[in-house]
């Protein structure tokens, strides 16, 4: 489904990513773990067209998306939940959801808002509340529900556990898992290695812009490098 080959991204002269090869198959949940500054967010930004890679190819369903603008990727079935939730704080919860369906018709938008908020009862309870007044966990759930408005084939999540208490991290991951079980392909990057590895089918380890390890959940949980660097 999503294939990244030999990707290299630079910020001016600074190399942020090099020789990145990632493959996400349909229906899979794949995690990329790494410390702060490892290049996780740059990876997602490169995929979403927010940052132009210097080298390499990115294909979605076999078609290259390297030069595709971010907003057009939504129509191609790929949506991003940005780092730090990034809900629109002065709009209501419902308006945030409707914006997620910007590419849909008005009728579809309302139907999808009902559908995508179904797994998140708290969002329905607070549909008229300003999104900025939700708690961190609720905002993350809103960001996920909003991203699901277009029924993406693949959902990209940037640090879904960022700034959340352990209990909320668990709840958020539970919801992401629900989406995965319902057939959505997931690619997520997170610093919270334990949660990210436990959740996924396969994972990659990113260190200083390069992939240093990859494997299945079990392989990585038993990997000495991962245990020493991320799991303690």
């Amino acid at each position: 489904m999503l294939n990244i080959k030999n990707l290299a991204t630079y910020y001016g002269q600074i190399c942020a990513l090099e020789k990145i090869n990632i493959n996400v198959k349909e229906g899979e949940a794949v995690s990329v773990i790494g410390a702060n500054g490892a290049g996780k967010s740059t990876l997602l930004k490169s995929i979403m067209g927010e940052v132009r890679p210097r080298n390499g190819t990115i294909t979605l369903d076999g078609k290259p998306i390297n030069n595709t603008r971010t907003y057009k990727l939504v129509g191609r079935g790929m949506t991003l939940v940005p780092e730090g939730r990034q809900v629109f704080p002065y709009l209501s919860v419902w308006d945030n959801l409707l914006l997620g369906g910007y590419t849909l018709s008005l009728k579809e938008r309302n139907n999808m808002a009902e559908e995508s908020s179904a797994p998140f009862p708290i969002l329905r309870e607070r549909k008229n509340q300003m999104a900025g007044l939700l708690s961190g966990g609720e905002q993350q759930m809103l960001a996920i529900a909003r991203a699901m408005m277009t029924k993406p084939k693949i959902l990209l999540l940037d640090e879904p556990s960022m700034g959340l208490s352990p209990k909320l991290v668990y709840e958020v991951y539970e919801k992401i898992d629900e989406l995965h079980q319902n057939g959505t392909t997931i690619l997520l990057v997170d610093q919270n290695a334990e949660m990210a590895i436990n959740f996924c089918d396969r994972a990659y380890v990113l260190m200083a812009g390069r992939l240093v390890s990859e494997g299945t959940k079990e392989e990585l949980m038993n990997s000495k490098v991962v245990q020493a660097s991320y799991l303690g």
Binding site: K45, M48, E50, R69, T70, Y71, K72, V74, G75, T79, L80, V81, P82, Q86, V87, F88, P89, Y90, L91, S92, D95, L98, L99, G100, Y102, T103, L106, R109, N128, Q129, M130, L133, R146, A147, M149, T150
Partner: protein, 343 residues
């Protein structure tokens, strides 16, 4: 009081404003005051236009004086050189300003933040230099004078309404202000308006929702320019003369100050900002050298102490002193308001 709360403070403000607008000509008889009120109405249209760009889309422009000038000069030239009626020059001026606004937006909005501000400032300055130096067309420093008043409106023998005195312009300008408010509300409550708000709050998140950020910003810049065209045309026919100094950099700062002092992303804020600054400007007419200093100081003070402008202050006041609302009621009433720019 309970009924007021049910109605919402925003709607109450507009209703009170409507009543004030209706009775104003009966209360004020001094022609100078009527002149100032008419100017306020023109500036409200300008401020509403800029607020759509600054307050609702998060893009700052310092070139709107140039667009205001395009509207004014277009209508002035069509009516003095080609003898076109006001009812023809007004839409023509609006179309021309909108088209130029589209070009400026298309080029300028490829830049972001301070670079956009610099680009629009440069555009405004270029236009001002054109107004000043293209003497054959614009009349140079002397400008264009003898711009005719709108023609008398005649409906058979029932109605004959001429524009001879300042007061005669008042209903016309009120009609345009109401139309501008109506259009603004329509825009900000539409899906497009919400997309603009999303862009203002977070461009990456907006793009990730499938919102074409650049296109949306250009469309909003173009719409905002249309307001300048209308305001410019009304201004020219009201004062019967246009000259370059009106459309200099200082005017761009003035309009931006109106938006910021009133409260970005609020229709009532735009009205309050335009009113307050036009009155201040007229009060400082005898000391024009002080005017820009005071505007600058006002912007600094607003940024430091109440960055959400008068509307932000009113909101804080409401939150502090009207305590019989639960948090949810406050929130629910806030989300119904246009703009939602309050913290």
């Amino acid at each position: 009081m309970k009924k007021m709360k049910e109605l919402g403070y925003s709607k109450m403000g507009l209703i009170i404003g409507g009543i004030v607008l209706f009775f104003l000509p009966f209360l004020i008889t001094n022609p100078y005051f009527i002149y100032v009120v008419n100017l306020i109405l023109i500036y409200i249209i300008l401020t509403l236009g800029l607020d759509l760009l600054v307050g609702y889309t998060g893009q700052v422009s310092l070139g709107h004086a140039g667009l205001f000038g395009i509207g004014a000069y277009s209508t002035a030239l069509f009516s003095t050189k080609l003898d076109y009626s006001f009812w023809v020059t007004l839409p023509l001026a609006t179309i021309i300003t909108t088209m130029i606004g589209f070009v400026v937006g298309f080029i300028g909005l490829k830049l972001v933040e301070e670079y956009l501000v610099m680009a629009t400032l440069a555009f405004g300055t270029i236009l001002w230099l054109v107004f000043l130096n293209w003497s054959d067309l614009t009349g140079g420093p002397m400008g264009v004078s003898a711009i005719p008043a709108p023609p008398t409106i005649r409906i058979g023998s029932i109605l004959e309404y001429g524009f001879n005195k300042y007061i005669d312009y008042y209903p016309l300008f009120v009609a345009f202000v109401l139309l501008s408010i109506f259009v603004t509300r329509l825009i900000i409550r539409s899906g497009f308006g919400r997309a603009c708000t999303a862009i203002r709050d977070d461009e990456l998140a907006a793009q990730a929702m499938g919102i074409p950020v650049f296109k949306t910003k250009v469309v909003m810049f173009t719409i905002s320019s249309a307001y300048c065209g209308v305001a410019g045309a009304l201004y020219a026919h009201f004062l019967h003369v246009v000259s370059p100094e009106t459309f200099a950099f200082a005017m761009s700062v003035t309009i931006l100050t109106m938006v910021m002092i009133g409260g970005q992303g609020s229709i009532i804020g735009a009205i309050l900002g335009a009113t307050l600054l036009t009155v201040t400007s007229e009060a400082l007419r005898s000391t024009p050298e002080l005017r820009m200093m005071i505007y600058g100081l006002l912007i600094i003070l607003v940024m430091m102490f109440f960055p959400r402008g008068i509307m932000g202050l009113m909101h804080l006041f409401k939150e502090k002193f009207i305590k019989n609302k639960t948090v949810n009621t406050v929130v629910n009433s806030e989300v119904k308001k246009e703009g939602l720019r309050y913290e």
